[in-house]
Amino acid sequence: MSDLTSLTLAEARDGLRGKKFSAGEIAEAHIVAVARAKALNAFVLETPERAREMAAASDARIAKGEAGPLEGIPLGIKDLFATEGVRTTACSKILGNFIPPYESSVTANLWRDGAVLLGKLNNDEFAMGSSNETSCFGPVQNPWRRRGSNAPLVPGGSSGGSATAVAAHLCLGATGTDTGGSIRQPAAFTGTVGIKPTYGRCSRWGIVAFASSLDQAGPFTRTVRDAAILLRSMSGHDTKDSTSVDIAVPDFEASVGKSIKGLKIGIPEEYRVDNMPPEIEKLWSDGAAWLKAAGAKLVDISLPHTKYALPAYYIVAPAEASSNLARYDGVRYGLREGSSSVTELYEKTRSAGFGHEVQRRVLIGTYVLSAGYYDAYYLRAQKVRTLIKRDFEEAFAKGVDAILTPATPSSAFAIGEKGNDPVEMYLNDIFTVTVNMAGLPGISVPGGLDGNGLPLGLQLIGRPFDEETLFAAGEVIEQSAGRMKLPEPWW
């Protein structure tokens, strides 16, 4: 890795402004890194020409003194975000060669602020997965390996390409989306920082929809500060998404380094699950000790409905997905399997175009919404969701400012290791999914290594629209744990 790819986003920004190097140079360094990293399969589309053009435009703006907040910063974009004129597939065969004639609002915000597009990043098909193994472009490799082993590990999912690209220094930051943990789990598996902001903080317009009441975009970076910088640019009200909230976007970076003295940090007993590996226990108590040492007050709290969040999620998310994915019909875009009957055209197209995991989720969603089953499944799940949210509200009402938990129940597992039982794969999101169900912000910050030398992440959960506290407390964790030393390239 060259010096320019080892910079943090903040260092690159400051260096570009101080004219220590040009946007063209920093783009070129990353284009080379991406081209060398094909073995990781993080990028499903590289856009070096577009990156060079955008970098040249950035250099011109820097010369004129008109640099934006992300001027000249090369980013990778999850292939779930529509990018105008650049193929967008959600890593599904059914979208085929879809070239969006429009730009997603989040990426439009990034280009407005001067960022540079390096290419599109791999993910689980339609963001349905926790290992990036359901992508039609094949699995992504985690740059991390177990000590003394060459076995390829998953980067987590669904934003696996984003996590790997940032961890392997292929870009200075990346976008992700998080419906049940798809930013925080891969961030934990790759030693990177990932935040899912409050539902409504980022516009969903132009992001391929999975489960609309849960989906939210957020950044991947190598430091907490970088995540604060990137999230600020991604956020903001958008008239094209009625669920995006019209409130001011704070300068999140100003919270990084702020004292957490007197903050009340909740430790929820229900997250101490059966058979929790001792390494995860230790990570959690280390995190609590670091926050305490920085002046925070630890309080035990109870979130009694925690264990029901995941099963309720696996009703709500497939139900919404089955509705959202009805649009892939072989008529308006993407794949079409010909037939003389329109019903058969739909059925053949969707059978050939959707992968197995997606088909199963659409079928479950169809079942739980079908006549006679709606009340027993969907309605009950939405009631449970109210109870999950109430648990958090009661904790916050008692003065808790943020909640500390592990981000995942384990470190990264091997490709192919969890292929057979869908429920076993779903359990990966046990600590993250509650946050989506309640619409809260959650950040994953690297907290240490396990016995195999693999990274583990700590999660902080905040009050609605209080990402600032997460950045302040996340910085304390990063400073206390020490910046994660990312793997040397073997690829």
Binding site: F354, R360, G365
Partner: protein
């Protein structure tokens, strides 16, 4: 609750996904595995609990009912697998 092979075929047809006969049985087993696991929700007391309709207590904004976008059929049709004279083309649906 659990599903049998006929249920799986019915759901697949409702979802407009054709399932080869060889895929029905594995799909049935997987769906039942998940439904069985979801069953634990039955033990939660939800009496008097309102189902969630929105995670954020935000009131939807009203705007003037007017056209704000559109007027470019060629862009709308650009990615279509088959078009003719400014329309999407599907197999004949009316006799």
């Amino acid at each position: 609750m659990s599903v049998d092979a006929a249920d799986v075929r019915r759901i697949a047809h409702l979802a407009r996904i054709s399932l080869d006969e060889s895929r029905v049985e594995p799909m049935r087993a997987e769906i039942n595995g998940i439904l069985q696991w979801i069953e634990q929700l039955q033990e939660v007391n939800v009496e008097g609990v309102e189902p969630m309709t929105s995670v954020t207590p935000v009131k939807l904004k009203m705007r003037k009912d007017e056209v704000t976008d559109g007027g470019y059929p060629e862009r709308v049709l650009k990615n279509a697998p088959q078009t003719e004279a400014g329309f999407f083309v599907v197999p004949k649906v009316v006799e």
